[in-house]
């Protein structure tokens, strides 16, 4: 693979030269020689300017191009820069000596005056203003979130009163996407996490003869925390990203505007069915991930510890209470809502370019994962306080 910058130049290094000579006290003749091509070694305008500025009273520049070889935009950019600098200094530029094509291109470049205020100035910002701007940016992002959550709440109200417009097929398509289509990856990840957890537990507990407690570690670890987190992160990567990309592309394509001109609320129509589907399906998929994790843990424990499967399962039953399972499933539902929110919010707020869709997708996944981990901590704190 070759980057655009590292392309070798096709021709050997050519040189362009310019010499300047004063014709009389007020005018100045530039003689251009050699090959004035983009890839040739060209003189810099700045050098010429220092020379010009050193001569007081220069009023006119003319060109001699009788010895000029081939030329392309390399020459024209040079001439345009001279022209611009000359205008600033009130020096007249006489184009008659230039090749016909180059003269016309230079005139074309100045034919339409630059539109006032169109040029984007890149200003270097000071530290304080950068801190200020990023603070404002963060506040705006937080406001966007609050507004979005508020809109979603209103939309849920409309749904309950039967006033929301949505497609049942969107709901079921999402249900299918997060359940049947995700089973493969959930099985694999769930099983392996169970295996890993069981290895850690078996090695540690075995060393003081309490190998059977691996069942407690695997069971509680998976059911209370890792099952929901695994399912949540898989959904963030699969489904959250797909929501953001789907809705973002609809935005680019004006499809969301088309909904709005029909009086259809995009939140009701696009976000609500997806969020509901994810919220309802997450507990189910988590239950499945729990099962897979426990199977993985059992297989490893039975293999490396001197325990029968029956004993292990018996220990599991004792360790896991119904509260642990329900707590984990509730957590999964919360993660489902967060993933759907992040995915849909990033999609709806998406800009209108291909790059914006990519950014929306990335940001949806990152936001989901951060939200999952943060809310998991908060929920654990609450569970501990409530003694669940």
């Amino acid at each position: 693979m070759m980057s655009l910058d590292s392309r070798p130049t096709t021709s050997p290094q050519q040189t362009a030269e310019v010499t300047s000579a004063a014709v009389d006290e007020t005018s100045f003749l530039l003689t251009l020689r050699g090959e004035w091509l983009l890839e040739s070694e060209r003189p810099r305008v700045a050098d010429l300017l220092t020379e010009l500025d050193s001569i007081a009273g220069c009023e006119r520049i003319a060109f001699d191009t009788t010895k000029l070889g081939a030329w392309d935009s390399g020459l024209v950019t040079y001439l345009v820069e001279i022209e611009r600098e000359a205008r600033e200094r009130d020096i007249a530029v006489d184009h008659t000596g230039l090749p016909d094509g180059a003269r016309r291109l230079v005139e074309l470049a100045f034919a339409v005056p630059e539109r006032q205020g169109a040029r984007r100035e890149e200003r270097r910002q000071g530290l304080m203003s950068r801190i200020g701007n990023s603070t404002l940016e963060a506040v705006r992002a937080a406001q966007d979130w609050v507004r979005f959550v508020g809109e979603l709440t209103l939309s849920f109200g409309r749904l309950l009163r039967g006033k929301a417009t949505y497609e049942r097929s969107d709901f079921f398509a999402t249900v299918q996407e997060v359940s049947v289509e995700a089973l493969g990856i959930v099985s694999l990840v769930g099983f392996l996490v169970g295996v890993i957890l069981s290895f850690i537990g078996a090695v540690q507990f075995e060393s003081f003869g309490a190998g059977i407690y691996t069942a407690n570690l695997v069971g509680l670890g998976i059911v209370r925390e890792l099952g929901p987190i695994m399912a949540g992160i898989i959904m963030a990567g699969r489904t959250g990203a797909s929501f953001a990309a789907h809705i973002g592309t609809m935005k680019v394509n004006e499809e969301i505007d088309a909904l709005q001109t029909l009086g259809i609320d995009p939140i009701d129509y696009l976000v609500m069915p997806r969020a509901l589907a994810l919220m309802l399906m997450m507990p189910l998929i988590t239950l499945y991930a729990d099962l897979m994790g426990i199977i993985g843990g059992t297989v490893v424990s039975v293999a490396i510890l001197d325990i029968t499967p029956v004993l292990f399962v018996e220990q599991l039953r004792e360790a896991i209470g119904i509260g642990d399972v329900l707590g984990g499933l509730f957590m999964a539902s919360v993660f489902g809502v967060l993933v759907a929110l992040a995915g849909c919010q990033r999609g709806i707020e998406c800009g209108t370019s291909a790059q914006a869709v990519g950014e929306a997708t990335t940001s949806a996944v990152v936001t989901s994962i951060v939200a999952i981990v943060a809310s998991c901590s908060v929920l654990n704190f609450i569970y501990t306080a409530l003694d669940i």
């Binding site: 394509n253 004006e254 499809e255 505007d257 088309a258 909904l259 709005q260 001109t261 009086g263 259809i264």
Partner: protein, 257 residues
């Protein structure tokens, strides 16, 4: 016979994005049954004005009145009710890409009517046939050409027999013949539906072929320069910029007042 009755009134309208004013002090009326052209050079705010008219962007100042009823100052619920009477053709069609053409046309019907599915399907087939797409019901937007997508989008726009049809650059990206057929279709729809049509365009051929009234927006002074029938503006406008635009940059200064 057209009855000269005011349908849409644009009153003292200013539109801006943040501090950046796009157009200000717009004041004109659109009569019932008009094919009204919003024209002007690139970047003059034509599309922004259209967004205000169809409820996608709120104006900074002023109001739009449909049948004398305020669009932006009345409560949200009234605006929703007015939206039902609009049909919109977006620049790139903006068909819902995950739906077939029939489903695209069907959505407005399903939202606003209680028709049974079989009847919805019949209406969709009819609308698609009207725009020359009979038999394409089960195609997805990505499977048909750009010109067909525009026509399918038009079928969706007329699904509810709208009172007002908005067109954003209908002929952009179409070949001359397809674009001409679209113009004919627009006039045909105006006559058969009795709709008022508002078109944003800078395609001169279309402007003269279909427009019977127009407004000219200027990007420099950021306001409207003239309003009236396009032919009249081309030949007799007192404003040089307007005549120059309509004569494709060949106007002479001589009869400039």
């Amino acid at each position: 016979m057209r009855s000269l009755q005011t349908h849409i009134t644009i009153r003292d309208l200013t539109l801006a994005y943040g501090d950046f004013v796009v157009q200000s002090d717009l004041d004109f009326t659109i009569d019932r049954g008009d094919v009204f052209i919003i024209m002007g050079g690139s970047g003059c705010g034509k599309s922004s004005l259209l967004k205000v008219l169809m409820g996608l962007k709120s104006p900074t100042r002023g109001d739009v009145l449909f049948n004398g009823q305020s669009f932006w100052q009345d409560p949200e619920a009234d605006r929703q009710a007015m939206l039902r009477k609009f049909g919109v053709l977006f620049q790139n069609g903006a068909l819902w890409s995950s739906k077939t053409l029939a489903e695209n046309v069907a959505l407005p019907l399903r939202v606003y009517t209680e028709l049974p599915p079989a009847e919805v399907r019949d209406v969709c087939s009819l609308k698609l046939a009207l725009v020359g797409l009979a038999g394409f019901e089960d195609y997805y937007p990505s499977e048909i050409s750009g010109g067909m997508r525009k026509r399918a989008a038009l079928a969706r726009a007329i699904a509810l027999d709208p009172e007002i049809l908005f067109f954003d650059e209908p002929s952009a990206g179409l070949d001359p013949i397809t674009s001409r057929r679209l113009d004919d279709l627009i006039l045909e729809l105006r006559d058969s539906l009795g709709a008022t049509i508002v078109i944003v365009t800078h395609e001169l051929a279309s402007i003269f072929a279909v427009g019977n009234n127009s407004v000219f927006l200027d990007p420099v002074t950021k306001t409207m320069l003239a309003t009236g029938p396009p032919q009249e503006l081309r030949d007799h406008s007192s404003n040089f910029a307007v005549r120059d635009f309509l004569q494709r940059g060949t106007a002479t200064q001589e009869n400039n007042v």
